[in-house]
Symmetry: C2
């Protein structure tokens, strides 16, 4: 019963061996992400995931032994984008540029990954039960690191005093909002679908408002 061997291709160096397995798993996870995001863990039906990935249900069970295993695998991918936007927050940059870049990057990521973003939000709302201890630790570490950067900026007089953690929550929640709460955002903005312009305005409003509040007087 050769299920999910962790090793790569057995003997030859090619990818013919792994090709089928890799492609099917990829296809299953892609479909699963979409469906979990739309319906949540309980709402998602394996039959639907199977259909969406073009495989019969029994074949899905050939690669994953349970619904939970699929969900875990999907969730694991979600943290990957966490660091990217945060990378813009670094001591050697001017806070002004850094925060603008951060907001822009986060919004852009959010926009390009609406499905994942929503699934992530869903998972957190449900209590983050399937987020591994390691992943949560990682997020905490990265946040702590960036909190230090803000504190340094404040100490250097480049930023007015502010609680860095609540500041991050402000930025994170505002950028996250547009993807997760799209229907509400659309209602508020009098549109039927969020467009590039909306995201631009969002980025501008968020970074300008926050920056004008944080930079020493007359710096913007």
């Amino acid at each position: 019963m050769p299920k999910m061997p962790a090793n790569k291709a057995p003997t030859n160096g090619g990818d013919t061996d792994e090709k089928i397995r890799a492609r099917n798993i990829r296809e299953i996870l892609k479909a699963a992400t979409e469906i979990f995001s739309r319906k949540g863990f309980d709402g998602a039906r394996i039959a639907e995931i199977a259909e969406a990935s073009g495989l019969p249900k029994a074949n899905v069970y050939y690669y994953f032994s349970s619904k939970e295993e699929i969900y875990r695998a999907v969730i694991e991918h979600l943290i990957e984008g966490w660091d990217d936007a945060f990378a813009h927050i670094s001591v050697d940059r001017e806070p002004q540029d850094a925060i603008r870049s951060y907001v822009a990057a986060k919004l852009s990521y959010t926009r390009r990954n609406v499905i994942e973003s929503r699934l992530f939000a869903n998972e957190i709302i449900r209590g983050a039960q399937f987020l591994s201890r390691k992943d949560r630790q990682h997020m905490r570490t990265v946040t702590d690191e960036k909190v230090k950067v803000i504190e340094d900026w404040i100490a250097a007089g480049k930023l007015r005093p502010v609680d860095p953690r609540h500041l991050f929550i402000m930025l994170w929640s505002a950028t996250q909002f547009y993807a997760d709460f799209e229907p509400l955002a659309c209602d508020a903005l009098h549109t039927t679908k969020l467009k590039g312009v909306d995201y631009s305005h969002a980025a501008e409003t968020i970074s300008e408002t926050v920056l004008r509040g944080l930079l020493p007087a007359g710096q913007i």
Copy 2:
């Protein structure tokens, strides 16, 4: 088959008639809110709602004809708090006080109604399918009204130019965050449970940052 008559007590003026019905319905909705909030629409089991409300399942079905009907009834209550915090935003107040009060009120409401807040978020993420047209229209109207207030303030020179709609999104998302994404917020704030202090700091950070960015130079 006397199910859910809309009329009140039949003949006598007392409340003995309605007491049983009213109490049971209240108990069912209370339990349902809790469970829908934790598990989502699909994840919630009627048997569990029944147990949590201390009634046998069949009795729940005596009052509600389907799971969807219970969900709808629960969702209906959710909009009620929408206006309350917004009421603080009125032209005849100084923007400074108004926005501070708004943020404080919203956070306080959020804190006191974590379950409902989370359920509301869940519903929106899922596409707001069960939010009635009327409710959405109502939210839009209220928002529009408050957008006008902000615009008036800007025109009067009491506020720097800002897109009022994105501003509201900023405020709304930031305040909402603490309840909906509690696990994440806890991680970020290095605590295991959000306390009153955390909400105070949140309120202060949000309103001060935003206000310093929005008020004309030197007004704060």
